[in-house]
């Protein structure tokens, strides 16, 4: 289980003069659950977007199974089909019903037949409690419902690696619990995950590795125990203070 799946190597990203990521470097092994925590605007989403090739890194690169994803001839579509993503802003397809949102990838990318795709999608929608809403269009859903559909859509693709960008931000505590339980199960089943989250409890209890980002650099990383019990960096200490005082 310790073969590295995703290696982020000296990754930098600037928008114009504004440096958002600076020399970010970490490794995700197969089966790892890596949590990325950090302040608003510290570059967490940008990091995930670079890994998923939605942004071109300014410098450095990302390796997938040892292969550079920005190399010539690398097929980004096949890669993205294996590395799923749940967006912070959901990005559901507005022209499709909830069910179609989840089957689109299965049918068009994985070329599954309609019925198989439907069964997979329904199973995943049921996991997040969205099965009754399969005929709804995204604009008819509440925030939390959209978020759950986004999760189901990513799960339906049965990817090797899943990138979650704050997957429980729009959910109530009860639903957070249930979605986190689903993720926990996925982790147990060996899915590799990188999770940007503000749910410190989840980071502490489920992750195998925690990355704390501040202003575009990795301020501290380590096992959850390291980060949550013995944070070294004063900024980590401050960031976690509210959570640790519980």
């Amino acid at each position: 289980m310790s073969e590295p799946i995703i290696q982020v190597r000296h990754l930098s990203k600037s928008f114009g003069t504004h440096v958002v990521l600076r020399d970010v470097d970490f490794t995700v092994n197969a089966g790892d659950v890596t949590c990325v925590i950090g302040a608003s605007g510290s570059g967490k989403s940008t990091l995930l977007r670079c890994i998923n090739l939605l942004e071109t890194p300014t410098n450095g690169n990302v390796l997938f199974h040892g292969q550079e994803i920005t190399a010539k001839g690398f097929d980004p579509c096949a890669y993205r089909a294996k590395v799923g993503m749940v967006f912070q802003s959901f990005n559901l397809f507005n022209n499709m019903s909830v069910l179609d949102n989840c089957t689109a990838g299965l049918r068009y990318v994985l070329h599954q037949d309609k019925e198989t795709a439907r069964r997979t999608a329904l199973a995943n929608l049921e996991k997040v409690g969205m099965a009754p809403y399969i005929h709804a269009k995204p604009r008819q859903l509440s925030g939390g419902q959209k978020q759950r559909v986004a999760i189901a859509r990513a799960l339906s693709m049965q990817p090797e690696v899943l990138l979650f960008d704050e997957p429980t931000s729009a959910l109530d505590p009860q639903m957070v619990g249930e979605v986190l339980a689903v993720m926990r199960q996925l982790a147990k089943d060996g899915l590799t995950m990188i999770v940007v989250t503000h749910e410190m409890a989840f980071a502490r209890d489920v992750s195998s590795h925690v990355v704390y980002m501040a202003d575009g650099v990795i301020a501290e990383e380590g096992t959850p125990a390291d980060i949550f019990e013995h944070p070294q960096n004063p900024r980590t200490v401050e960031f976690l203070s509210r959570f640790r005082q519980e």
Binding site: T56, M85, F87, N91, N94, A123, E126, V182
Partner: protein, 274 residues
């Protein structure tokens, strides 16, 4: 005024059938032209947005895309930028004169209207694509869709919705602009009007008749397009799905319903540390 109606009646009695035939020709040209024009427009819209990755794509591919973009731009600018009547003369008579290629006038007519509409639609579609939230593209890419799949299944259907009013415009423009095809001997509605006026000098009478026919066609087109818009918007509300579920019982969360009793209390202990 009395005269006017008498004249109208005379005109209609003599040329009524010609008007109808002309209207049929006009409608046929406009329909075919708009249909293929839209196809061309959508194709170009999709081709123009092919993403290029400076690092990943090999040089030849980037060069090819660049050339393609150049060719498409030339097509759009050339056909948008010159009068259709001149194009018709060049294509129909020019080809015949210089290369001896004799195109059927209908073939030429359909071709000219289609590539013209295509040139305009290409820009229209570009506007439509620009107006779609980039998040939609990202969503599609994130599940591994290729550029074409993204366009076909996600972007263009949404762009289509936004540019239907414009497709209506283009259709109506075509209904009227096909009149220039009279230079290649296609007798459309407006040419019938000109013939009638040429023969009888009853300009206002014939013009009134022709305007009414045009209006009928365009109003019908507007109406149908509005219906289509409504259809694309889909139903205002959705129905809850209560039957179409799988026999999938994972002990996970179940659909909320008013008499919801949690079946997953067992996992509460696991998630209770926040």
């Amino acid at each position: 005024m009395q005269d006017f109606f008498v004249n109208c009646a005379t005109v209609l009695q003599k040329y009524g059938f010609s008007y109808l035939r002309g209207a049929g020709t006009t409608l046929l040209l406009a329909l075919v032209g708009t249909f293929f024009g839209c196809l061309i427009g959508f194709a170009i819209g999709a081709l123009q947005t092919i993403p290029v990755d400076k690092q990943r794509d090999p040089a030849w591919k980037r060069a090819l895309i660049r050339i393609l973009h150049g060719v498409l731009r030339c097509y759009v600018e050339l056909f948008r930028g010159t009068p259709m009547i001149v194009q018709a003369v060049f294509i129909y008579y020019g080809l015949l004169q210089v290369f001896g290629i004799k195109m059927g006038m209908w073939t030429a007519g359909f071709l000219i209207v289609s590539i013209n509409t295509g040139a305009y639609m290409a820009e229209t579609v570009r506007g439509g694509i620009v107006s779609i939230d980039p998040g939609q593209t990202e969503g599609a890419m994130s599940i591994g869709m290729t550029h074409w799949q993204t366009m076909l299944h996600v972007i263009l259907p949404q762009a289509l919705r936004n540019i239907i009013p414009q497709i209506g415009n283009n259709f109506i423009i075509n209904i009227k602009d096909t009149s220039v095809l009279s230079v290649i001997s296609i007798t459309d509605l407006f040419f019938v009007h000109k013939s009638v006026v040429g023969a009888l000098y009853t300009y206002f009478e014939s013009a009134t008749i022709v305007m009414i026919i045009y209006l009928t066609m365009t109003l019908l087109a507007s109406y149908l397009l509005r219906l289509w818009e409504k259809a694309l918007d889909g139903p205002q509300n959705y129905d809850l799905n209560t039957t179409d579920t799988l026999a999938y019982t994972s002990g996970m969360y179940n659909a909320p319903n008013p008499v919801h009793e949690p079946q997953n209390l067992d996992m509460k202990g696991e998630v209770s540390h926040v």
